[in-house]
């Protein structure tokens, strides 16, 4: 299998895109650390699905915005599997609101989780990846990083930051043969996009050339590709998985 013997950490893997990524990487042979912040039951369900399919995984609670938690997360991966090959930074939150009325805490929370979170996770994984002179990091960005939208300036800023961070890190870590990429989903069928699909379905679909919303598995396959050696000459890329949204 493509990722046989490799170990992956997937943050925010209890549901949605994160769960799909964890299942996809496990199906490719990777052992997976299924990170969750609060939804332990859902994370265990992700793990159970992997194990039922013959894979190997553990659930691990950690808030990616907290350095001490992230240290525990990387330590858990090392303790359990003694190596770390793939990191997928998926954990993210939304706190939408018009800027004029947005509580500063909502700004801070989104930046802390969506931008600082991946930084912390990457930082903690680097000792192992640099030691091995190999590794693949994929950060989940968003189409919102480059396309303006009302009511989510905090989210857009966090994802724009992710895109910039990915490019910088790709250059910085290339000498150690660590690749860093992002996947930028459009409107995917998840809890996070429920509101936009409920209230503006026709309007949004009108802007998507493929005329449908994406499925989490479609994002997961893109992540698997970038995380794998099949993408061995790709780094610093932001792969759009948007159905053509914004073209």
């Amino acid at each position: 299998m493509l990722m046989q013997g490799q170990v992956a950490v997937v943050t925010g893997a209890s549901r949605g895109i994160g769960r799909a990524v964890a299942l996809e990487l496990a199906a490719a042979g990777a052992k997976v650390v299924v990170n969750f912040k609060a939804s332990e039951e859902a994370a265990v369900e992700t793990v159970n699905r992997i194990v039922a399919a013959g894979g190997e995984a553990i659930p691990f609670q950690a808030d990616v915005s907290k350095e001490s938690d992230v240290k525990r997360l990387s330590a858990a991966a090392m303790r359990q599997f003694d190596r770390l090959d793939i990191l997928v930074c998926n954990a993210g939150i939304v706190r939408d609101g018009l800027a004029a009325a947005m509580p500063v805490d909502d700004w801070d929370d989104v930046i802390e989780t969506n931008l600082k979170g991946p930084f912390l996770c990457i930082k903690e994984c680097l000792p192992e990846m640099m030691h091995r002179k190999a590794g693949s990091i994929v950060v989940i960005s968003s189409v919102a990083a480059v396309h303006g939208g009302r009511g989510h300036c905090n989210y857009s800023a966090s994802k724009g930051g992710v895109n910039s961070m990915v490019k910088s890190l790709a250059v910085e870590l290339a000498p150690r043969r660590i690749r860093v990429n992002a996947v930028s989903p459009g409107v995917i069928v998840t809890d996070m996009t429920q509101r936009i699909r409920d209230f503006a379905e026709d309007e949004v679909l009108a802007g998507i050339p493929l005329k449908r919303f994406g499925e989490v598995e479609e994002v997961a396959k893109a992540v698997r590709f970038l995380a794998s050696d099949e993408a061995s000459y790709i780094t610093g890329e932001v792969l759009q998985v948007t159905g053509g949204l914004g073209l």
Binding site: R79, D82, L126, M130, H131, R176
Partner: protein, 196 residues
């Protein structure tokens, strides 16, 4: 200027040197034979800042220690008063004396007036890593083996730089390299007096 109190780990010096040379060679993609203890990492071996981290990570994995990450001179400046150690990015006489004492492996003639603060990491030699590793291992050996939570016996983790309590399962990280090396500087008591 007093020398540091000699505190050596029980691990043989030869083993430490061999490990560091191997780590340096691996990071810089050299043959171990090309790496000498007195080689300047930057000037002789072409190391860059990322290589320093790479070397540290490799040694950390083998010996389960925490190498320093902070800029020691900056932290010392916060303690002793920045202007006492670095003046306009130039290392002061006091700063030079501290460096000579703290890094005895470096040719003292290069620690001369006019040295810029950002040039200090460029002075590190292979032996610098050996000395730091020795000190970190000693600090680890000096740690109490009694669990602060339950009084149980602490045992070294197989995979992580920490002790695990055999009784309650609590974990206790090994000493921070930043703290260990900073405490070394603090030991320079006459320097501390001078800074006052």
């Amino acid at each position: 200027m007093p020398e540091f109190k000699i505190q050596n780990t029980q691990v043989p010096r030869e083993k430490l040197e061999e490990s560091v040379v191997r780590a340096v060679a691996s990071a810089l993609e050299l043959e171990p034979e090309e790496v000498n203890l007195d080689s300047s990492l930057q000037h002789n071996l072409g190391a860059e800042s990322l290589d320093y981290l790479d070397i540290a990570f490799t040694i950390e994995r083998e010996y389960k220690v925490h190498f320093p990450r902070e800029d020691l001179l900056r932290r010392a400046g916060e303690h002793f008063g920045e202007s006492n150690l670095v003046e306009g990015n130039i290392v002061s006489d006091l700063g030079l004396r501290m460096l000579r004492a703290a890094m005895p492996e470096i040719d003292p003639t290069v620690l001369k007036p006019g040295l810029l603060a950002h040039q200090v990491p460029g002075l590190f030699t292979v032996d610098t890593f050996v000395r730091v590793l020795d000190r970190l291992l000693y600090a680890k050996e000096e740690m109490s083996r009694e669990c602060p939570e339950c009084g149980g016996e602490l045992r070294a983790s197989d995979s992580l730089p920490e002790f695990e309590c055999a009784k309650c399962g609590a974990t206790l990280p090994y000493p921070s390299g930043d703290n260990v090396m900073f405490e070394e500087l603090i030991r320079l008591s006459d320097t501390g007096e001078a800074a006052k």
